[in-house]
Amino acid sequence: MRPEPVEAQATPAFDEPLVSIRDLRTYYTIRGSFLDRLVGREAGIVRAVDGISLDIRRGEVLGLVGESGSGKTTLGRALLGLVPATSGTIELEGREVTGLSERQRRVLRRRVQVVFQDPHASLNPAMTIGEAVAHPLRIHGLERNREQLRRRVVDVLDRCGLAPGADFLDRYPSDLSGGQKQRAVIARAIILNPALLVADEPVSMLDMSVRARVLELMLSLKRDFELTYLYITHDLATARLVCDRIAIMYLGRIVEIGPADAIYADPKHPYTQALLRAIPEPDPTRAVPRDLPRGEVPDAALPPLGCPFHPRCPHAFEPCGWESRDLRELLESRWTRLAGDPLVEQEQALVGDLGVLARPTPEVRLPAPRGRQAEEIVALLDRIRAEAPDEPFWRGVERLTAEGSHVRLDFHMPKEPLLEREGKADVACHLYTEPS
């Protein structure tokens, strides 16, 4: 089926990217009393998207991969104009779209469409499929003739595998299965013939036996309609099958970006490597201990200093951003491991209140509680070190001494890693830029 002719506009240069994002930031403020205690650089701000620069080229499928809290969904929504940008620019087909009013943006919505994650929630339960799919054309006043409208809807439904389309016109979403609903959502998205389709986890809520078909549909539509996709997901396995380039996000930043085969064949960033390792494999003969990073994605309101992945990274070293909270984490995970052992309470009494470690700084001053000596605490830390000297934490420690009634623990100065070319991909990791 040939696509409808696009409206006449200045022909863009072929090598100009479809979307151009420069230093985009989207911050949310939190109002919450539990945040009062924590004093950080900027307390109470979630940096959902924290300085993203990226191009989406015409005709490509760019994968945006990350876990929850990575900012990938927020970036998608910023692209769609559903959330405002705090700073930075987004250019769509050469036009700046970040500062636009709602009304100006509405016209642009014809060029960028979206497929959301939950097919059961994306369709209005009060509208039939026919009405829902026709609605974009109605909204933008693109087709007033009722017969023509109906024919276009039937055509696009057929094209999306809901055939015969005429049968689906009068059905309600509750009559359709998950896969069918997602196809209807896709039909609704492409009926306007957009240039860019943002797909936010389009198959993660569908059954395995159905995913392939929806993915196939997306790929064939891309070919026939010359679509460009931003494919947002946390599942690197499905991303591999559809993406040309992949960007890995962590806490609002891109940590690695490059051509898909480079990322899968030779992942550079430890987080990318961890994501790949974590994918459960449907092969019991190969299920080996996975050696996953400990911990979880940290609170986006107060990200770790330096490289945000360092507390979990098995290869972290001096410049990666060691700070007070890492000391707290060291002690807590030790006590977690020994939970139930009376030794834990002894050590807790020795170290005292760890609240002072909540404020992130590379220069830690831990006061000894009354009746204890700082030297005892240093001795405990030395013992801990001797038990596991290969912990990356210790590489970050520059100096550990007792000073009067305080323990003085200085870490190496934190440095934020920047995206730099390494082989075929760009990586933000000190392993590749700093001498270790």
């Binding site: 559903l82 509405r106 979206v114 994306s122 209005n124 009060a126 609605h135 049968d167």
Partner: protein, 338 residues
């Protein structure tokens, strides 16, 4: 297969929606059905009385004589006056029937006004939020804090001097007392629907806020309103009767009103005259009960949580012989993969 319809698409849209709303009602069972049917019949009965009062009521509501003969004062029920007569020689039966018309006029007007004001305010306030929302919520909560009867009395009192029609006065008084309820219910539902993915999808499509409210929010939010409206109607009747009892609202010269009659009947009761107060009082009770039954029946029907309780009355079929052979004894040549 889809036939090109000749009706305007807007009307088809509404028609289909109404059909979907109707279908659970058509399938009621058990307790809900009993409540629904009895409530509906009672309410319908009074509606008929109200509509056709002119033809059903034997006499006018202030008619104290016929054919030049004055009716007996405080006459016992029976004969020509099945419900007796009042101290002013009015026929109680007629007054009850005319009273039904008054009640319904006022309540319907009040309902229409409340919905017309409360629902849109709730929709806009919930969808747009911001200062408008905060201001309206403050106002509505303040109004909500007043006991409805008290508020109605104050408004009826104020309006009574300017507006001549007691019906309108009473209706407006009741409306103002009940608007906060509709506002609140609709607003809260809108706030949760607003966050739904399909509304976000509509924004992403480029739909204007009015379109979103109309097509995406309204129909999904409006399901609670009929139940609320019927229950409020019952309450409104009580409020109206209360106003009449206290002498506000509908004036006796304009129309018959049950509450007023009950109040007049009070003094009669001490003298052993029971019929002047009892019949209007019973009319209030029966109508309110009927509407409440209707409302509760609707609630049982449309509220999915309550529906599920009635299922579970099925029987398991006896296990078929096939099932009994689930683990056949293993034969040497049987049961090995092909």
């Amino acid at each position: 297969m889809a036939v090109a319809s000749r009706t305007a698409p807007g009307r088809r849209f509404v028609g289909r929606r109404l059909r979907r709303l109707w279908s659970p009602i058509a399938h009621t069972q058990g307790l809900a059905r009993v409540m629904l049917l009895s409530g509906a019949s009672i309410t319908l009965f009074f509606i008929v009385l109200a509509f056709f009062a002119r033809w059903i009521a034997p006499y006018g509501f202030t008619q104290y004589a016929a054919h030049g003969v004055r009716f007996p004062q405080l006459g016992h029920p029976g004969g020509v006056h099945p419900f007796g007569t009042t101290v002013e020689s009015d026929d109680v039966l007629s007054r009850v029937i005319w009273g039904a018309q008054t009640e319904l006029k006022v309540v319907v007007l009040a309902l229409v006004l409340s919905l017309a004001v409360g629902v849109p305010l709730g929709l806009f306030s919930g969808y747009f939020g911001g200062a408008l929302d905060r201001g309206l919520v403050l106002l509505m909560d303040a109004m909500f804090a007043f006991p409805p009867l008290l508020l109605a009395i104050v408004i009826a009192f104020e309006l009574g001097s300017t507006v001549s029609s007691g019906v309108v006065t009473a209706a407006v008084a009741i409306t103002i007392a009940y608007v906060p309820q509709y506002f609140r219910v609709v607003r809260n539902h809108v706030i949760s629907v607003r966050e739904e993915t399909y509304v976000e999808a509509a924004r992403a499509l480029g739909a204007r806020p009015m379109t979103i409210i109309r097509k995406y929010v309204f129909f999904n939010v409006v399901q609670n309103v009929p139940v609320l409206a019927t229950l409020n109607a019952a309450d409104a009747i009580l409020t109206l009767a209360g106003l009449g009892f206290l002498g506000y609202g509908v004036q006796p010269t304009q129309a018959a009103e049950w509450g007023y009659d009950v109040q007049r009947g009070l003094s009669d009761a001490t003298n052993g005259i029971w019929w002047t107060g009892l019949f209007p009082g019973m009319a209030i009770v029966v109508l309110v009960t009927g509407i409440t039954l209707l409302g509760e029946g609707l609630n049982e029907t449309t509220n999915p949580v309550l529906r599920r309780r009635r299922f579970g009355r099925f029987d398991f079929e006896p296990v078929s012989p096939m099932f009994a052979e689930v683990e056949p004894p293993l034969q040497p040549d049987e049961g090995l993969g092909e």
